[in-house]
């Protein structure tokens, strides 16, 4: 064998060994945010003792499809986000590891109860929430001042808030609206919960009952009075867009709207309130949350578990709060000095946190039927809000579709 061949083979062998060594100690986490900096600053130092290092793979769009493909092909990362709205089939796939509850006992104990229970399926723990959010009302102070209408308040019911929105529209005239009313479950659902409706009964069945109908009548009434408008009708894709236009009084959103308003409407004076109360004085809200879950086929379970612990540590929660406005999963907000500062953004974060502890809170999920269930509910709302269908007719059509779901 010539010396050139020997050198070549030696180089290839060294490269193969090096890459093998690297593969054995690298834990990859994936999600749709950009957490590369957090991995090097927060996670790597915490897992150094295991000899592993962590990296982050950002997949900004269609993450659920990326994950489904990766899990089925055996190429999924060691740790990944799982949104509660599509968690059911992912956990049921058998490709996600059950987490040892005792190893995360302290973290779980510190969480709000609704969050703690969010990622259990069939009694098994499949994920630890990375953060969460609930809805609140963000409002444009200047518009309410111009209209001479009282600001929304934490004591408002949906009816009293509706009266304020109607007054705002009447005072400012055409082209100005009290609220954008999305014809979709992700916002209307919270109103229906406040009216007493629950998405699934004890048998897992959905009934579009009179409570759902009452909430829908209220929602539709706002539109008919001119106080509300469907976002698409003013060129907005969500209620944050509506608020940004400075022609709409309120937005029903979570803390994610803070960054959007900072970047897109920096001069806006906005405030926030809790979600209004329903007829029985209870609030309704969604729990939006995403877990860190573990690939059952991870090649280095101890390092992956250590990385998961680092990802949900107080340091990681603080980093995500300060950089992305993500609400910490730890109930003791005094641990996060960042939240002590006054200001509209922090007010909204604190209200979103309180939202997880007051009233009727349900995870944003379509249960076993997933997106198909949500689509049916959306079609009922759209029938009434967009196609001007009678509420009873829309409910009957929707109920028939729900009953036909597998």
């Amino acid at each position: 064998m010539s010396s050139i061949k020997r050198i070549g083979l030696g180089t290839l062998l060294a490269a193969a060994l090096a890459s093998q060594a690297e593969a054995e100690t690298k834990i990859t986490a994936a999600g749709w945010d950009d957490l590369g900096q957090m991995m090097s600053k927060i996670v790597d130092p915490q897992i150094a003792a295991t000899g592993a290092s962590a990296s982050f793979l950002q997949v900004p769009a269609d993450f659920d499809k990326f994950l489904q493909n990766g899990l089925s092909a055996g190429t999924a990362p060691d740790l990944f986000y799982v949104d509660i709205s599509w968690a059911y089939p992912i956990f049921a796939s058998g490709k996600v590891a059950e987490l040892p509850q005792d190893e995360f006992a302290q973290t779980l104990a510190a969480m709000p109860q609704a969050l703690r229970e969010a990622f259990y399926q069939n009694g098994k723990l499949y994920g630890i929430a990375k953060d969460f959010a609930t809805l609140a009302i963000a409002y444009n102070r200047d518009l309410f001042d111009d209209a001479g209408v009282d600001y929304p308040s934490d004591d408002d019911s949906w009816e009293s808030l509706g009266a304020k929105l109607t007054a705002l529209h009447a005072a400012l005239g055409e082209g100005y609206y009290g609220a954008c009313l999305p014809a979709s479950y992700d916002r209307f659902g919270a109103v229906a919960f406040a009216y007493g409706w629950r998405p699934f009964d004890t048998q897992g069945k959905t009934v579009l009952d009179e409570r759902f109908a009452s909430a829908l009548a209220f929602w539709r009434g706002l539109k008919d009075s001119g106080a509300g408008i469907v976002p698409q009708d003013i060129g907005a894709s969500w209620t944050g867009d509506c608020l940004k236009s400075e022609k709409v009084g309120i937005a029903i959103e979570g803390p994610w709207i803070n960054g959007f308003l900072r970047d897109n409407a920096p001069a806006m004076h906005y405030g926030s309130t809790m979600m209004p109360k329903g007829p029985s004085a209870e609030r309704g809200n969604f729990l939006y949350t995403v877990s860190w879950s573990l690939n059952a086929a991870t090649k280095d379970l101890p390092s992956a578990l250590a990385t998961l612990k680092a990802l949900v540590s107080i340091e990681a929660q603080t980093f995500r709060l300060e950089n992305y406005g993500a609400i910490p999963i730890d109930s003791d907000l005094s641990k996060f000095s960042y939240l002590a500062a006054e200001g509209a953004a922090n007010d909204l974060v604190r209200r979103s946190f309180r939202g997880s502890q007051e009233g009727r809170i349900y995870p944003f999920s379509g249960g076993r039927s997933g997106g198909a269930w949500v689509e049916v509910i959306n079609s009922v709302i759209a029938d009434v809000m967009i196609n001007d269908a009678k509420i009873d007719d829309a409910l009957a059509r929707g109920q028939a579709k729900l009953d036909a779901l597998p």
């Binding site: 493909n69 599509w86 089939p89 796939s93 979709s184 698409q232 379509g366």
Partner: protein, 365 residues
Amino acid sequence: MSRSFKNTAASLAFLAPFILAVSVFFVYAMARTVWFSLTQYDLNTPPRFVGWENYLLILGDRLFLTAIKNTLLYSVTITVLQTLLGLLLAVAIDRKVRGISLFRTAFYFPSILSSAAVTLIFLWIFLKDGILNAFLGWTMGVGPRFALFIAAMLGGNVLLSWWDRRKGYPAGWMEPQNLILAAVLAGVMLLSVDGAGWLPNEPVHVAVPWLSSTQKVAGMAIPLWAITLQNLYTTAPTMMLLFLAGLQNIPAEHYEVAEIEGGRFWQIFAWIIIPSLRPIIFLVTTTSLIGTLQLFDQVALYGDAVPKESRITLAYYIYDAAFPSGSSPQVGRASAAAMILTALTMIIIAAQRLLNISDSAREGQ
């Protein structure tokens, strides 16, 4: 080694990349799809044979039937419209006049734009308070004035021509000086009537829900009409280019003979242009039918801005079944729908041949 063997080996070597690509990406993929269509498969557990169950399931699925209806209606509508528009544009720019290349470039320009960019632009155009509805409202607002002006101008022109003739001048019914004078008089009259407040002044508010509706017009949901308009804008220029190439292959003698015989434009169009363009018409309609049966990207890009049942097509149904939001992949159902789409495409092309369109094309060559 014989010469013929060498030739065969060389031919096979040249064909190998194509054969390999077809084998992997067509034959193998097709065979897998057929197999999956007969199974229940969620990507995570091994496929389980269920026979024709997926086919029976989707044939009873209201959304699938809507997807088929949407696909067929859209496909036929867009094929007819873009063929006609492409042909008219091609005839319009098939002229040897100064600056024609500018018009050719301008007309062709939409077809080189990215589909995503065009969709975003059209999303804006189709808003309820968008420029399309504003334009329609403006048109309806000026409609009475425009109609009055045209009526007054034509009426004035007729009167002036009649007056000239009565005086013994050899005036036609469309004399330019009479038309100009009639237009000036009609303008003065319009200003007077408008100034007196005899015409309605309320602005017409048009609020067609181009995107958010499930209402139907001529059997097709309004949002699908919006997608049709958008696709017409981007694909008609490609058809125009094909027709233009065909038009430039028609011998000039044909036009010369027709002109000598006193043929009018519509006669030349019907008896020379259309028969000569039959091969192109076949090409255009075939590619258009196949392409539109697979409509996916605009439908996906419109996303939640449009209710699903108003925009769903077969191709989107397949994707939606393979990766449903929030539930397990249904690869079997998606594969069965894909097989039905394949069969539908083949049936339509076969029907096109049965209707003698392709044979006519050969005759036209």
